[in-house]
C-alpha cells in the first residue's frame, strides 16, 4: 500500500507532465489512488489523466483511509479499537474535544499568518503565558476570585504583549528595510519564544503549577435518577450514554472555545474592523486603497492571534499541570494543524485541529503497546505535517493564489 502510494506520487506527476496538464495536485491524487487501489487504479489513472475534480480530491483519500482501517482490523482482531465499541466512542469524543482546543489555538496562528505572512514561533509561549497569568490571578494574587477575571487578565495581558512586540520588533518588516522579511519574522519570534520561556522559568521557577477547577457541574441525571443512560454528571465530569466520559475542565474549555469562536466569527464578518482584517488578508494593496491601514491590521492580527493562544492556555491550566516548557507541544501541533488546514485558512485551522485530535486519539488508543503509543504522540503530528507538505502543500483549504503579504510587504 505504501509502495503503490509512493509509485503513484511520482508516476502520476510524470504522466500529467507528459500530457502537459496541471500537475499541482497530480502527486496527491496519484498517491491516494495508488494507496487505495494499487496498480489497477494507477494504470487507469495514467491512461486517462482526468482533469482535477473535487470528487477526485475527496474520494481516494477516504478509500485509502478505509482500507487502512479495515486492514488494521483484520491484522489485529483482538485490539480494543476493533472489539470495544464504547472504547471507540470515547476515543472519538476525546479526539474531537482535543481537536477543538488544538484548532482554537491554531486559529490564532493562522490568523497571524494570513495577515503578516509569518509563522509565529512564539505561539506556544503565548499559550504558556496565558495559563500562567490565569493561574496567578485565580490562585496566588486573588484566591477565590471568579475565574473569568483570570481568563480576562490572561487575554488582556497577552494582547498588550503581542501588540507591543509587534510594534517594536516586527515593524521593520513592512517597509523593505529588511531583505528577507519571512526569515526575519521566524527568527525574531523564535527569540521572543526563547526569552519568554526563560523569563517565566526565572521568575516562576520550574515547579509545575495547576489551577483549581474553574466551575463545578450541577448534579444532573437524565432521563431519570435510577437509570441515567442519557446523561449523568458529577462535579468533575460528565458521562454520556453510559459510555463516553468527559472530564469537566476539558468540557468547559471546549465549550468556551466554541463560544469564543462564534464571537470571533461575528467579529470577522459583521464589524468594520473584522472586515478590514479579512480584506487585508485577501489583498493588501486593495485594502489600503479603500482606506484601511494595513500596518495597524498587522498589529491587531498579531495581538489577537497571541490572545487566542493565551485563552486556550488559560482554559487548560485547570486541566494540565503547567511548566515554562509546556508550550512546545501545542506549538508543534498548531504548526501541523495550520499546514494541514492550509496556511492562512481559518476554517482549515478548525477542521485540521479536529483531524489532528482524532489522529492522535486513534494513535494512542489503537497501537497495541501503550507505552510506545504514548511516546510516539509527537511523531503522529510530524507525520501528518510531512505528508501534507509533500503531497499537497496548500493544505485542505489553502488558497492557491492567496493574497496577504506572504513576506512581500510594500
Amino acid at each position: 500500500m505504501t509502495f503503490w502510494g509512493v509509485v503513484g506520487a511520482f508516476g502520476t506527476r510524470r504522466a500529467y507532465l507528459k500530457k502537459d496538464m496541471d500537475t499541482s495536485n497530480a502527486g496527491y491524487i496519484g498517491s491516494m489512488i495508488g494507496a487505495a487501489t494499487g496498480p489497477v487504479g494507477l494504470i487507469a489513472l495514467w491512461l486517462k489523466t482526468p482533469e482535477t475534480r473535487k470528487s477526485l480530491l475527496v474520494v481516494p483519500p477516504i478509500a485509502a483511509f478505509a482500507l487502512l482501517a479495515i486492514s488494521f482490523a483484520f491484522a489485529d482482531p483482538s485490539n480494543s479499537c476493533v472489539t470495544n465499541g464504547s472504547f471507540v466512542a470515547s476515543q472519538i469524543s476525546n479526539g474531537i474535544i482535543l481537536g477543538i482546543l488544538y484548532g482554537f489555538m491554531a486559529l490564532g496562528l493562522t490568523l497571524i499568518y494570513s495577515i503578516l505572512g509569518v509563522v509565529s514561533f512564539a505561539h506556544g509561549d503565548f499559550y504558556m503565558i496565558g495559563g500562567m497569568a490565569a493561574y496567578y490571578v485565580t490562585m496566588v494574587w486573588f484566591p477565590g476570585v471568579n475565574p473569568l477575571f483570570g481568563i480576562g487578565f490572561a487575554c488582556v495581558s497577552t494582547f498588550i504583549l503581542g501588540a507591543v512586540f509587534e510594534r517594536i520588533f516586527l515593524t521593520p518588516m513592512y517597509d523593505g528595510r529588511i531583505d528577507r522579511p519571512v526569515e526575519y519574522g521566524i527568527l525574531v519570534t523564535f527569540g521572543l519564544a526563547f526569552t519568554l520561556q526563560y523569563f517565566i522559568a526565572a521568575t516562576v521557577g520550574s515547579n509545575p503549577v495547576k489551577a483549581k477547577r474553574y466551575f463545578d457541574f450541577p448534579r444532573l441525571h437524565w432521563p431519570s435518577k435510577e437509570d441515567p443512560w442519557l446523561l449523568k454528571t458529577r462535579r468533575g465530569g460528565l458521562e454520556l450514554f453510559d459510555t463516553i466520559t468527559i472530564s469537566n475542565p476539558r468540557f468547559t474549555a471546549a465549550v468556551v472555545c466554541i463560544i469564543v469562536l462564534l464571537m470571533l466569527l461575528y467579529f470577522l464578518h459583521r464589524t468594520w474592523t473584522g472586515k478590514a482584517l479579512r480584506a487585508v488578508s485577501l489583498d493588501r494593496e486593495a485594502a489600503a486603497i479603500t482606506g484601511i491601514n494595513p500596518n495597524r491590521m498587522n498589529m491587531l492580527a498579531f495581538a489577537l492571534g497571541g490572545m487566542l493562544a493565551a485563552l486556550a492556555g488559560a482554559l487548560l491550566v485547570q486541566a494540565f499541570s503547567w511548566l515554562p516548557q509546556v508550550g512546545a507541544i501545542p506549538a508543534m501541533r498548531s504548526f501541523v494543524i495550520i499546514v494541514l488546514g492550509g496556511l492562512g485558512s481559518l476554517p482549515g485551522a478548525f477542521v485540521g485541529g479536529i483531524i489532528v485530535g482524532l489522529v492522535e486519539s486513534a494513535g494512542t488508543g489503537c497501537i497495541p503497546d501503550p507505552q510506545k503509543a504514548a511516546s510516539y504522540i509527537p511523531a503522529y503530528g510530524g507525520i501528518v505535517l510531512l505528508l501534507t507538505l509533500l503531497l499537497r502543500p496548500t493544505g485542505l483549504f489553502g488558497r492557491r493564489f492567496s493574497g496577504g503579504s506572504h513576506g512581500k510587504f510594500g
Partner: protein, 405 residues
C-alpha cells in the same frame, strides 16, 4: 599595514592562541575549561555550517540538530551492537569475515537486573575469557555516521526542493520531531531517554610525540575537535568563495531568477544540504564519542535554538563570525552559571536561569538593530570598509528610483 590585513592578523592570533592554549593554561579548573572549549568547537562547527545553509543559501532549516543526532546515533549504535570475534558464538546473528566473525548483538533494551544478558555476553560467559572479542574501531563508526548524515541530508534535500521559507522551517522541524520521537520510543534498541553509551574517542589512550595520553585526558579530543573545526571552516570558506558560493547566494536572493540565468538550482540546493548535514553529523559523532553518552534530549528544539541564536548574534552571513561567536557565547553562557547579590535591594539573582533570558533578549535586539549580527559587521568593516559606502549609496539611489516608479 592596511585595514584589510587586520582580520587576517587577528585570525592568525586566534588560531595560534587556540593551538597553544592547552599547554600554557594551568589553573585549577583546567578540565572544566577544556570541556567548555571542546563544547565551543562543537557549537562552532554546527553554527558555521548552519550559517552556510541559512545565511548563504537561505534555507532556514531547523533540522540541523537532527543531523547531529543521526551522526551520533549511527556511530553509537554501530559501536554498541557490532563486534568482531575470532570464534562463532552460535547464538547471535553473525557473518564470517575472513578468519573473524562479525557479531551483531541482539538488543535487550533497559533491564534493571543483570540476569538478562545479550547474546554476546552470554557467549562470553560460556567461553569464560578464552576468546578475546574486539569492538569495532571508533573511526569506522564516525565515518559511517558522517555517511549516514550525508544520506539523510540528500533525502531531506530532495524532499524540500519545492518548499520555501516558512514551509521549509516547518518541514525540518517536523522531521526532527519524528526523529526524536522514534529514538525515544524505540527503547529496545536506543535505550530511549536513558541514553546510549559510547566508547571514548581514544578508548585505549593514544601516544603522540612520545607522550602517552590517558583516555580521559582532554587534550586529544581538544585537538581533534579543533582540527575538525578548521577543516570544516576551510571547506566552507573554499565553497563560499568559489562558484558554488555565488550560486547559492543567487539562490537565496531569487531562486527563479537564478534558475533563469542557468544555475542548476536543484543540484546546488541538494549539494548544500548534503555538505552541511555531513558537517553536522561529523560534529555530532565526534562530540558523542568525546562525551561518552548520547540521549534524544540532544535533538531538542532548545539545542537547535542555541545554534540558531549563536549564528544570528554573531552574524549569519559570515561563517567565521559564526564560529567565533559560537565559541565566545558558549564561554559566556558557561561563566555566567553563577549567582550574585544585588547590592542595594539585597536580592540574590541566580544567573543560571537569567543568563538565558538575557541571551534571548540579546538575540531579539541584535536582529532588530543589526541584521548581520555583531561580529560580522566588524569583519566587514575591515575587509570591505572601502566598498561599503559606494554600494550603500547605490542601493539608496535604486530604492528611491523604485519608489518613484
Amino acid at each position: 599595514m592596511s585595514k584589510q590585513q587586520v582580520p587576517l592578523i587577528v585570525g592568525v592570533i586566534i588560531i595560534s592562541f587556540l593551538m597553544i592554549f592547552p599547554f600554557v593554561y594551568t589553573a585549577n579548573n583546567y578540565p572544566y575549561v577544556m570541556h567548555i572549549m571542546i563544547a565551543g568547537f562543537f557549537y562552532a562547527i554546527l553554527t558555521s555550517s548552519w550559517s552556510m545553509l541559512a545565511g548563504y543559501g537561505g534555507q532556514f532549516s531547523f533540522g540541523h540538530m537532527g543531523f547531529t543526532g543521526i551522526g551520533a546515533y549511527t556511530t553509537a549504535l554501530f559501536c554498541h551492537y557490532i563486534y568482531l570475534s575470532p570464534e562463532a558464538t552460535n547464538i547471535c546473528t553473525e557473518f564470517s569475515v575472513g578468519s573473524q566473525y562479525l557479531v551483531i548483538v541482539n538488543p535487550i533494551g533497559i533491564t534493571s537486573s543483570t540476569l538478562v544478558q545479550d547474546c554476546l555476553r552470554e557467549a562470553m560467559s560460556i567461553w569464560d575469557g578464552s576468546v578475546k572479542v574486539t569492538p569495532m574501531p571508533v573511526w569506522l563508526g564516525i565515518i559511517l555516521g558522517i555517511a549516514m548524515g550525508g544520506l539523510f541530508g540528500l533525502l531531506i534535500g530532495l524532499l524540500v526542493l519545492p518548499l520555501r521559507a516558512a514551509y521549509l522551517a516547518l518541514f525540518t522541524l517536523g522531521f526532527t520531531e519524528i526523529l526524536r520521537a522514534v529514538i525515544s520510543s524505540e527503547l529496545d534498541i536506543t535505550r530511549g531517554q536513558a541514553g546510549l553509551e559510547l566508547p571514548k574517542l581514544f578508548e585505549n589512550g593514544i601516544t603522540i610525540f612520545g607522550r602517552h595520553f590517558d583516555k580521559t585526558d582532554p587534550l586529544p579530543p581538544y585537538f581533534v575537535m579543533l582540527f575538525l573545526l578548521f577543516f570544516c571552516l576551510g571547506v566552507l570558506y573554499w565553497l563560499a568563495q568559489s562558484k558554488f558560493g555565488l550560486f547559492i547566494r543567487a539562490l537565496r536572493e531569487d531562486q527563479d531568477a537564478a534558475a533563469a540565468l542557468g544555475v542548476n538550482t536543484t543540484k546546488y540546493k541538494i549539494m548544500l544540504f548534503v555538505i552541511t548535514s555531513m558537517m553536522a553529523a561529523a560534529a555530532g559523532a565526534f562530540f558523542a564519542h568525546y562525551i561518552g553518552i548520547i540521549s534524544p534530549n540532544n535533538l531538542m528544539i532548545l539545542q537547535m535554538s542555541l545554534v540558531v541564536s549563536m549564528a544570528v548574534i554573531a552574524g549569519i552571513e559570515n561563517i567565521f563570525a559564526a564560529a567565533i561567536g559560537a565559541i565566545i557565547i558558549e564561554f559566556t553562557l558557561e561563566t555566567l552559571r553563577t549567582s550574585f547579590d544585588v547590592p542595594l535591594i539585597g536580592v540574590e539573582v541566580d544567573m543560571t536561569v537569567w543568563r538565558l533570558v538575557i541571551f534571548g533578549a540579546l538575540l531579539m535586539i541584535t536582529l532588530r538593530l543589526s541584521r548581520n549580527g555583531i561580529i560580522a559587521p566588524i569583519i566587514n568593516y575591515f575587509l570591505r570598509g572601502h566598498v561599503a559606502d559606494e554600494t550603500v549609496a547605490k542601493r539608496k539611489v535604486s530604492d528611491s528610483s523604485e519608489e518613484s516608479a
